[in-house]
């Protein structure tokens, strides 16, 4: 089991405390292609953030590849995210003042990979995704589909065990969406990478192997 969630609870403190996750139990096997469906506010993004160690949880147990993820230091969490997890966001989250290839290189920079090797690898991945000619363009010179492919290259470059995608097609037209989904499917099949996609698009949902529905902080 790659991901194992037991009775996860998460409350956002504030004037009106918000109990977003109410005892979530979930298991995802290595190599699975899973979607998490739910209305906005259902807690699906929070769940994804906890799985991606971007956020912490209040109670319960989260095991990633067997090791307990609880109360990690920010440096330790950063290392997990860097080496084991790749993120794909709805808004792409590319760094605007870096070129496509520099964006793809960045995770390797934080691994301490030498400049030349980093650049070679990044170019390799961009080529795989058909973006070789766009490698020295800045994000604002790329189309939505191209940006998302750069983001995918950035997520893949460290060979993570897990890819987390938060509405990866949310900002794309239907044709590009289909292309991106096909790409993710292909990566899952060829590389055996576990993929968890948060979406509310039934078409995306239909392409995954398993769909998990979350409603009001609980898996239904």
């Amino acid at each position: 089991m790659l991901i194992e969630l037991k009775d996860i609870n998460k409350t956002y403190e504030g004037a009106q405390p918000l109990h977003v996750l109410k005892g979530v139990n979930l298991g995802v096997e290595q190599g699975e292609f899973v979607s998490i469906m739910g209305a906005s506010g259902s807690g699906k993004s929070t769940l994804l953030n906890i799985i991606g160690i971007l956020d912490n949880y209040d109670s319960g147990e989260y095991r990633f590849d067997g090791s307990l993820i609880k109360g990690l230091s920010e440096s330790k969490a950063a290392e997990y995210r860097n080496r084991k997890i790749g993120f794909i966001f709805q808004s792409f989250n590319l760094i605007a003042f870096k070129t496509a290839v520099e964006n793809v290189e960045l995770p390797l920079f934080y691994q301490g990979v030498p400049r030349r090797r980093r650049h070679e690898l990044a170019m390799e991945y961009l080529e795989k995704l058909g973006l070789r000619d766009w490698s020295h363009h800045y994000p604002n010179e790329l189309s939505g589909g191209q940006k998302q492919r750069v983001a995918i290259a950035r997520a893949l470059i460290t060979h993570p065990q897990l890819i987390l995608a938060d509405e990866p097609t949310g900002a794309l037209d239907s044709k590009t969406s289909a292309e991106v989904m096909a790409l993710l499917r292909e990566i899952n099949r060829n590389e055996g990478m576990t993929m968890i996609i948060v979406t509310h698009d039934p078409k995306v949902n239909a392409q995954t192997d398993r769909s998990i529905h979350i409603s009001d902080g609980m898996i239904v």
Binding site: L54, S75, I95, L106, Y110
Partner: protein
């Protein structure tokens, strides 16, 4: 390292105007610091050079006026040192402390004639040890030696300005050695040229003590007794010795043993010590003022880094999501802060040093007339390598301090919060 520099350059490039304006405050701070320190050095050098008669640790003793009645004699008596005082100074009584004794005598102003040139001079009769105690620099020929003393030779050591004048502005001082000048009614052979002060105030020409004594000073009067000493370590040692010596000399002149103005003792060791402590005080004060000026610049840099960090929150969120550790974020910001501070600081330092050079070439060579004396305002203003190193350290520290708080703020934001910023 190159990666970090590239990152800094990218960040600075996006905020050129802002960075430059902030940087200028740092430049200004460092500029002021350097200018203040170098002006301070100039003032101190002037003071030092005006008091540089004795360069070695030595004491100079000269007659004064009694300030207390003693032994039936009234106060206000003028005392002159005599050969008796010289003998007492060199006697067994003080051999534990006093090493070399050098009395000097001098004449009132005389005219020295070389060809058609006339110079107004003071002749000073000295022993060979005198030039050693004063570390007089002999530019050509030699100083007074033991044979000159023994034979009371009619020889003279003139200053380099006098020599230059005699040589029609040539500085080939060797040419004047062996020539003869007339002082009073007698002819003297020039045996040496000494490096005098760079102004016309220094008109002392040296002759053997015995020569001068034989010709001009028929009495047993002595102007100064200069002696070197050993074995005095602490201020207390110096005080105790001076009291003991004063009591003995005062005794010879029937003056109160504790009367400090009857015979003056000028101790170059304690005086240098006082000068040094004055110098340190001045320097500390200037550093404080300079650093406070710099503080304005540092606060500016810190402020700008805070704004930068706020603007880049989302970007830091992305970086954290793909694996940037808090430490890497902190080092990114601190390095940027240090780079900005150091770059603009160095600009300020270079400008400050240029200003010091300008100061040196203008104020440094100008003199003001006070009571008919030429006094230079600043001598060799400027800062040394140590100060430059000190300023560098200050810059790096300042940059680190300026960047630390913004960096800490950036590193502290949780990735989810940072990602949802903007």
């Amino acid at each position: 390292m190159r990666d970090i520099l590239v990152e800094i350059w990218e960040s600075v490039r996006r905020n050129k105007l802002r960075t430059t304006l902030t940087g200028l405050a740092v430049s200004w701070g460092i500029f002021m610091l350097i200018v203040l320190l170098s002006a301070g050095n100039g003032v101190m050098n002037t003071t030092m050079s005006n008091m540089s008669e004795m360069n070695t640790d030595a004491m100079r003793v000269y007659g004064g006026v009694t300030s207390k009645p003693y032994d039936g004699l009234e106060e206000g008596r003028r005392l002159d040192l005599t050969d008796k005082d010289v003998r007492l100074t060199g006697s067994k009584a003080f051999r534990d402390v006093i090493v070399d004794v050098c009395p000097t005598i001098s004449t009132s102003s005389l005219t020295m004639t070389y060809g058609k040139k006339n110079f107004s001079v003071y002749t000073v009769g000295i022993y060979p040890i005198y030039t050693r105690i004063n570390r007089t620099e002999i530019l050509a020929g030699r100083s007074i030696n033991d044979n000159d003393i023994a034979e009371a030779r009619k020889v003279i050591v003139i200053t380099h300005l006098q020599a230059k004048n005699m040589l029609m502005n040539s500085t080939d001082y060797e040419k004047i050695i062996g020539r003869r000048v007339k002082v009073g009614n007698l002819s003297y052979k020039i045996v040496g040229v000494r490096h005098g002060a760079e102004n016309e105030n220094d008109t002392d020409v040296f002759m053997p003590y015995t020569t001068l004594k034989g010709i001009f000073a028929k009495s047993d009067r002595v102007d100064n007794i200069i002696f070197t000493f050993k074995g005095l370590e602490t201020d207390e040692d110096h005080e105790a010795f001076e009291a003991r010596y004063r009591a003995a000399i005062n005794g010879l002149h029937h003056a109160d043993p504790e009367d400090r103005s009857a015979v003056w003792i000028s101790n170059s060791f304690t005086r240098n010590k006082q000068m040094n402590s004055a110098r340190n005080t001045l320097e500390t004060a200037l550093w404080v003022v300079g650093l406070l000026t710099l503080l304005g610049g540092i606060v500016g840099v810190s402020n700008i880094m805070l704004i930068t960090v706020k603007e880049r929150t989302h970007e830091f969120g992305i970086r954290k999501a793909i694996g940037a550790s808090p430490l890497s974020i902190i080092s990114l910001i601190v390095t940027e802060s240090v780079a900005i501070t150091a770059l603009f600081g160095y600009i300020g330092m270079v400008l400050g040093m240029m200003a010091s050079e300008v100061m040196d070439s203008t104020l440094g060579h100008s003199t003001v007339d006070i009571f008919g004396e030429h006094i230079s305002i600043m001598k060799d203003p400027g800062v040394d390598l140590g100060t430059a190193v000190g300023v560098t350290v200050v810059l790096i520290l300042a940059g680190t301090i300026a960047g630390l708080f913004p960096a800490w703020k950036a590193a502290r934001v949780k990735p989810v919060e940072a990602l949802s910023a903007n």
